[in-house]
Amino acid sequence: MNFTLFDLKIIEYSFFITAILVIMIGLYGALVKKSLIKVVIGLSVFDSGINLLLISVGYITSGTAPIFSPALVKDMPLTLENIKKLSAGMVDPVPQALVLTAIVIGFGVTAVALSLVIRLYRHHQTLNIDEIKNLKW
């Protein structure tokens, strides 16, 4: 695939703009909505936007996945110069490792928040955050 420089810039910036828009939509849902389940849905959308932003920051144009597969190495001996030459065309693996951890942590946070929502509903019989005022459990 041969891209012109203009196309590459459009792809890169459209990823950033989409990620920031999704973050803004999730923040709106978490701050404005009255239902507690809608607040947790907003936090989940916020999480997805942050993951997309981090992965697209580490992307370089026409790079390969950061894996030393046999088809990529071919018959080269793995000396230091060859490893440097091969890994120059790979995308950055550090944001991918961070996002891989952040996905699992986001799932744990969502599970804890939803269990708190169920406990609040059983105690107050409502999910409206305007009616849950008393701090006594």
């Binding site: 459009i10 239902s35 809608k38 849905i41 907003g42 997309l52 995308v91 969502t110 939803l114 169920i118």
Partner: protein, 95 residues
Amino acid sequence: MIYYLILIFFLLLLMIGAAIYSIVQKDLLYAVIGTGLISLVLSVLFLLLQAPDVALTEAAIGVALTTIIFIITIRNTVRFEDEVYQKKPSKTEAK
């Protein structure tokens, strides 16, 4: 090449649309399906951004497990967003 651009723009617009839908929708079950659609599109985008391991994890956790725990919560509480404004008589007040 132009098909690649069209595919990326379609996926990004679908992601923004699903995010808006899942925040605006009053029926919480449909909103949860919207968040599942966001995670599905996100895993395809990760695959296009050369991150296949992150795409596998997102497809397993984001699409399946998160949707399941949201549905369990909706089954134990209320389904519609408007129901939170009607305060039901609690057990202690009924007795």
